[in-house]
Symmetry: C2
């Protein structure tokens, strides 16, 4: 079956026989303390004697605030199943606005994909026009009614500075542009840990944030997404949100709260930061040790060290590399479809690696990856030039 | 805050101080055996050593088949977070068809609500034209391109017979009408435990089923919905579904599989059937014991004894009753908004009670309910006729 989008590519990596460095979900093991807290939450749910959903949601949001730097006030906060469900609800609102919608490019293709299922034709906005500073003159050329960005961006990690984002918010207020900021990857990036909704409120702009625990907190894909909105959007988004759900799982929220618990120095976001550092260091060492036999360094110079994925570019041999990896039971993600607006000169060169894995598991994957890279290089050396496909 | 829809009415009942007979989610306690099975699933997830999502999904679907009587073949089955997310994905497809969409009325208002967020204007189809037999001549008057029904229906329990539904499928094939059947309440109703997708395939009709565990299986609202489609719909629905998600929680599916486990005579669906019987019997006895002081019997003669909600009609005093219940910290659901197409002569008379609760908890609620009913009756006796509000 041909994969039509990134999600379908990631599906292949769910096979338990392969090492999965493909999807960007968090899959690392939890600390013993988090596990104990989750067992307590499970026992409470099983006993069924003290359900208190409103309390569970309040505690979850309070813990979330600690990590994102954003307030989640009543009436302007909507907790839902996943960021895609959040984006789908927001997309319904965008469709009704019936004004041009810009979407950052590259980015994970389900964002433009969800808009397209509603026949919104997203206008690609090159991320270089948004990060690290915003090119307002270029933005103005598009006559946008809404702009969807991912900050930091998946997969590149590029991110507007706080000053630039505040400038963008001012522009949005002046131009009456709705800003939608997918903040699913902001957890470990201090550039983005501040209150965007409050800043928009102060400048009189309309803004929506979508936080998502699934990219950082790993408990069998138990997750929640949180939609935060400025005051004027409260009514229309609530009207859509309440068509979707009454509540998410109370147990899910309590488990996530355990993992987020700011009172524990070893909470799962602190551990996530360390895993990102450790796995990226392992990857760097592995590449540097073999760069001679690989013949090219696939790393980007402008990468974001706080991002939980690694975005690579291989000017030659990318498809052979993917085949070599697959032959070794390793799945990494073909990155072409992040460029959702169509092919570019660089199509055929991108790979994304997921870092939110246990270090030992990740290291096994990286060893196979570097082995595949070296092998790819050797294949290329042996081929006469005219037979190369890249 | 005024409730704009049924979900917002149900929100009030999440307050832990009240007895919640409002929302139709399952909230009963699990058997000791189910609890033990869930603990094992939790430990497996926490250990993180043997993730196998495809296996978890296969086992879940196999257990589901046992209870729904339907096959869930690869490529035509899409597991998602909740029935609303499923309906939203289906609604995207319906919008693209750009043909008139009929929706059964009454029914839970988030179904027409989700369609309306996409500016589809649902055409109300009176459930009496669909149940127990189908009035094809009347249906033909609407020129439908799609028909959404809930079988058995929430809240009335009305349900087409199998023969009628097969006749409807034949009609849909002949008229090229897409049938969407929300089967979230079919668990305990043998009328609906058969393979609708297969029947549609055999007659050449397009049909979608949406199963949902949340109305029968109670584990802190951990749930899944399953979209089943006939062959021709496989591609378009997959294209939409994969914009939403890669996978649901593996732990969630394993916990649900434990609860469904057909090899255990005391599985949670058998227990659900017994709870429905027991709670309905308690309710009946309570009403019958007090019918003299109540002065009216709110029960419907055509009710469905297999349904997990009880649908009541009170020709007089409904609003006073709701106030009396609320004063006693009991929440039941004002049923008016199930009539999503607008007010009728009977508006102001409906109440829905949820039965999927532990019998002791349910009994406390019903005692308060009957007390409120008697009190309402007495209030009415004392009021001069011209001051009555109903």
């Amino acid at each position: 079956m041909t994969a039509r989008n990134l999600t379908e590519l990631e599906l292949r990596a769910l096979d338990p026989r392969v090492i999965n460095l493909s999807d960007g979900h968090a899959h690392q093991t939890l600390s013993a303390e988090s596990q104990a807290g989750i067992r307590t939450a499970v026992e409470r749910a099983l006993a069924g004697t003290r359900p208190d959903y409103p309390e569970a949601e309040r505690q979850f949001l309070r813990a979330l605030t600690h990590h994102t730097g954003q307030e989640y006030p009543d009436g302007r906060t909507f907790v839902t199943y996943a960021s895609s469900v959040a984006m789908s609800a927001v997309a319904s609102h965008l469709r009704r606005m019936d004004r041009p919608v810009g979407v950052v490019c590259p980015t994970f293709d389900n964002i433009p994909g969800l808009l397209r299922t509603l026949d919104i034709k997203p206008i690609p906005i090159d991320e270089r026009d948004l990060t690290p500073t915003v090119d307002l003159a270029r933005l103005d050329l598009n006559g946008l009614g809404a702009l969807v960005l991912v900050a930091p961006n998946n997969p590149t990690g590029r991110c507007p500075t706080r000053a630039s984002l505040e400038e963008l918010i001012g522009w949005a207020a002046a131009r009456d542009v709705l800003l939608v900021v997918d903040t699913a990857f902001r957890w470990c990036d201090d550039t983005m840990r501040w209150d965007l909704v409050r800043a928009a409120e102060e400048q009189g702009a309309d803004l929506i944030t979508i936080d998502d625990t699934g990219k950082a907190l790993a408990f069998a894909d138990v997750k929640a997404a949180v939609i935060g909105v400025t005051r004027r959007l409260s009514e229309p988004i609530r009207a859509i949100h309440t068509q979707y759900l009454l509540n998410v799982s109370e147990l899910g929220l309590r488990a996530l709260t355990v993992m987020l618990d700011p009172s524990r120095p070893d909470n799962e976001l602190e551990r996530a930061r360390k895993i990102i550092l450790k796995n990226r260091a392992y990857f760097d060492n592995a590449i540097e040790a073999q760069v001679g036999s690989i013949g090219q360094d696939p790393r980007r110079r402008d990468r974001n060290p706080a991002l939980s994925v690694e975005w690579l570019r291989l000017p030659t041999g990318r498809d052979t590399l993917l085949e070599e990896c697959r032959a070794r039971q390793l799945e990494v993600l073909n990155g072409d479809q992040f460029f959702w607006a169509g092919e570019s000169l660089e199509t055929g060169t991108f790979v994304r690696l997921a870092l939110m894995r246990d270090p030992a598991y990740f290291a096994r994957g990286i060893d196979l990856f570097v082995e595949s890279l070296s092998r790819t290089r050797n294949v290329h050396r042996r081929l006469p030039l005219r037979n190369r496909r890249d």
